[in-house]
């Protein structure tokens, strides 16, 4: 039972354009959502998060949008840069418990120069 889903295994975007990565979840108990970025042979690096009491959080070029009614969140990167090329994981947790993260399967973003 995949509680967090990233239906696009890959995405290719031109440098300077917007990258939009999508994520869907099924568990209504999730109240905290995160995006991690992962380069090959490295551990995931935290990018940005959002609490369920918000619908948007922005940090520089990165913005996360949360639509609770649709159980959907998205990560927008604008403008996209070649250094953004990596695998992006969406994760969710129920912070009332152990804060263990439930991850999606990831989306490989390729930003073309």
């Amino acid at each position: 039972d995949q509680q967090v889903k990233q239906n696009s295994p890959s995405l290719s975007v031109q440098e300077g354009r917007i990258s939009i990565l999508n994520c869907d979840y099924t568990n209504s108990m999730f109240d905290y959502f995160l995006w991690y970025k992962k380069y090959p042979a490295e551990g995931p690096t935290f990018l940005i998060s959002i609490s369920s009491i918000k619908d948007k959080n922005e940090d520089g070029r990165f913005t996360v949008f949360l639509n609770k009614s649709a159980k959907h969140l998205s990560l927008h990167i604008v403008p996209s840069q070649p250094g953004d090329s990596a695998v992006y994981f969406c994760a969710a947790s129920d912070r009332g418990a152990t804060n263990k993260l439930i991850f999606g399967t990831g989306t490989l973003l390729a930003v073309q120069p």
């Binding site: 490295e42 551990g43 690096t45 994981f89 994760a91 804060n99 991850f103």
Partner: protein
């Protein structure tokens, strides 16, 4: 400052052998998590430590898997009688407390022949 470290970075073993994977969390972090990433999959939660106790072991896939944490610091994940399906990247993460951002180590790539 020093991040989360894991050793070994790579481990190749024969089916049926036991392996030990080590995690050194960030100093002062009380919460420690083990995850694994199998080929083409997202990260899968294994176990959570708060201090030296493990209040959530729900992700351990079988009784061949065990983990301990000593001195509120170093953790060891042990896999007994390894099977080929245990092949994966095993990732450790730590956080200051259970409800803070998790910082990941680089992982141990385990290959069971």
């Amino acid at each position: 400052g020093a991040g989360v470290s894991q050793s070994p970075s790579n481990k190749v073993t024969e089916k049926g052998k036991d392996v030990e994977l080590r995690c050194d969390p960030i100093s002062g972090h009380t919460a420690l998590y083990w995850y694994r990433q199998s080929l083409g999959q997202g990260l899968e939660f294994l176990i959570y430590f708060q201090g030296n106790s493990a209040p959530d072991k729900s992700g351990l896939p079988s009784d061949r898997f065990s983990a301990e944490r000593t001195g509120g610091s170093v953790s060891t994940l042990t896999i007994q009688r390894t099977q080929q399906e245990d092949s994966a990247v095993y990732l450790c993460a730590s956080s200051f407390e259970a409800h803070n951002e998790q910082f990941f180590g680089p992982g141990t790539r385990l290959t069971v022949l």
